[in-house]
Symmetry: C2
Subunit: 338 residues, 2 copies
């Protein structure tokens, strides 16, 4: 037997070297340029999954939280769910003739972009209530799914679900490959995001935490239990709501948090407050050419959609969080090759 093994030994050694080399060469984050942001991710995963490292994290505690709008997909010039909401007004207008003369519906039907840009939160909630409540949860899911299968972003002429950031999808996959459970923690509607999260991010519905209205249990004509969507907010998953809802859903601090705006500040603070090694990252939209440029951090144009203030930038620096420059840190932004 000894001799037979010996014959194969050189081949085995070659095989061993090849596979070690292949492993070293396989970059888990190919859409990222080399730099401090990419290095921060690699280091975090290394230290928290190496059992001999003092920062090792048990698999049961490996949670990563991703904001969505502006962090994992495009949010400009308008949040996708707001586009959906406005378009639902057009779809439903024939059943509501009074909308032609009633604000805020009137401006939406008229396509008055100046007026729509000035909508208050109250206006948006009125439109949301009129178009996305009152039906069963399944009916809402079908409407959202149908819209997402057809609607396209006017700039790229792509489905909205194609406008996800490839570098962030890579981070999610890399974290999952290392035992992390990836969660979406979005200010957007939980029900809306759950419609496509599995297909787009590989994140199942039960790992999507978002703003949520109540549901109301009742019975259909067959006596079966159904859930209806009343116009009543239950979770406002933004700012302080993010750590509060993370605790509600998973009962502990995430080890990694990803955001891009002031609405994510508390989530990242809470991530860091868990102690040990943690990863906090903020996407800065400083690439007006390939995507959009807005802040107002670092002198970028101010925006109401995904506001990243200089104060947040300064907090990130003082707390040791990583600011991702889309321009410098991302080699490729979309899977379709922009």
């Amino acid at each position: 037997m000894k001799k037979r093994w010996a014959r194969f030994l050189p081949a085995l050694i070659v095989l061993l070297f090849v596979s070690v080399a292949a492993q070293a060469q396989t970059d888990p984050l190919p859409a990222w340029n080399d730099g401090p942001a990419k290095q921060a991710i690699l280091t975090f995963v290394h230290v928290t999954t190496d059992q001999s490292n003092p920062n090792y994290v048990l698999p049961a505690d490996r949670f990563a939280a991703f904001d969505q709008d502006g962090t994992t997909w495009v949010e400009h010039p308008m949040y996708t769910q707001v586009v959906f909401t406005f378009q639902q007004v057009i779809v439903l207008a024939p059943q509501h003739p009074e909308w032609k003369t009633t604000e805020p519906f009137k401006s939406v039907i008229a396509g008055d972009k100046a007026a729509m840009a000035k909508f208050t939160e109250h206006d948006l909630l009125a439109i949301f209530a009129a178009t996305q409540t009152g039906m069963s949860v399944e009916a809402f899911q079908t409407t959202a799914k149908d819209w997402l299968a057809k609607a396209k972003d006017p700039r790229w002429q792509r489905y909205y679900t194609e406008l996800v950031y490839q570098p962030m999808v890579e981070v999610m996959q890399y974290l999952r490959a290392n035992g992390y459970r990836t969660y979406i923690v979005t200010g957007g509607g939980q029900d809306f995001v759950r419609v496509y999260s599995e297909q787009v991010y590989g994140i199942p519905p039960e790992q999507v935490i978002g703003s949520a209205i109540e549901t109301q249990y009742t019975y259909n004509q067959q006596g079966q239990g159904v859930l209806i969507r009343p116009p009543k907010l239950l979770l406002n998953n933004n700012f302080s709501g993010k750590p509060e809802d993370i605790y509600l859903f998973i009962g502990r601090h995430p080890k990694a948090g990803f955001g891009n705006s002031t609405g994510d500040q508390q989530m990242l603070e809470y991530t860091q407050a868990g102690g040990g090694a943690s990863l906090e990252m903020l996407v800065l939209h400083d690439d007006a050419q390939r995507e959009y440029g807005y802040g107002p951090a670092q002198g970028l144009p101010a925006t109401k959609v995904g506001t990243f203030t200089q104060a947040l930038y300064d907090e990130a620096k003082s707390r040791g969080w990583t600011v991702i420059s889309m321009k410098n840190d991302w080699k490729q932004i979309f899977a379709f090759g922009k």
Copy 2:
């Protein structure tokens, strides 16, 4: 080579037969007596995990929901968390001298069982607010954990976490071994149950859905984000609240639901309304000798703690749900051998 293998062949064949036989003989539910309840569980798992069966359920959709009090552990004569709550009044009384003369605290301090049995929901909430709110979520967890490590049930002289029903633990393990994710869906406090759910049921905190108060995000003296427990109910996870909260957390119908009282009715209806094969079970406490006897279904004594009405019993029968007789279906009730 051929000859060498041939030498081992008889041994291999024996090994094969032994392991097939062992598999056939390994009963996944040894604490259950043979009967319709045990058979319903075995059949449900078989048809939903066999890919050739029309009732096959994709692994991603395999969710099972277990009520806790009275379904997976003892709830009589008083819910464990209520015992904890009362004992916290005693613990905290020195810091609240006014409680000696103020109801409902006065009766608790005096150990007046007749008065305590008459407490309204309002009284219980007042005690809950005074003893289990205002601190950080971590401080609450520590208090609950410390209590559970010391307190014992007076009848069995066992820790409360030992008073779990072995047959239900087996069902959980059997479901998990078949790709189901097991959730606790309890009217009890989510934070309380999460303290021991992993150790007792093998269910991690993120798979415990319970009644929950809000949390409030704030900062400690080190500027770190912390969550405080204000006395404000967010989720009342009972009756209609159960399907509503299941939808909030997992976004779909469970395939299996286990309960024991009117507070579980809607959860079981909602389980069944998901369509396809499903399993709905209700534990009937008809074993006053080995545990407790209460209903009032089937002429058992009425109770306010875990009420199982005759109307619920009739609904179970008409909808094809399985009523588990603790007396007849459970060979063994506790792991410690009762």
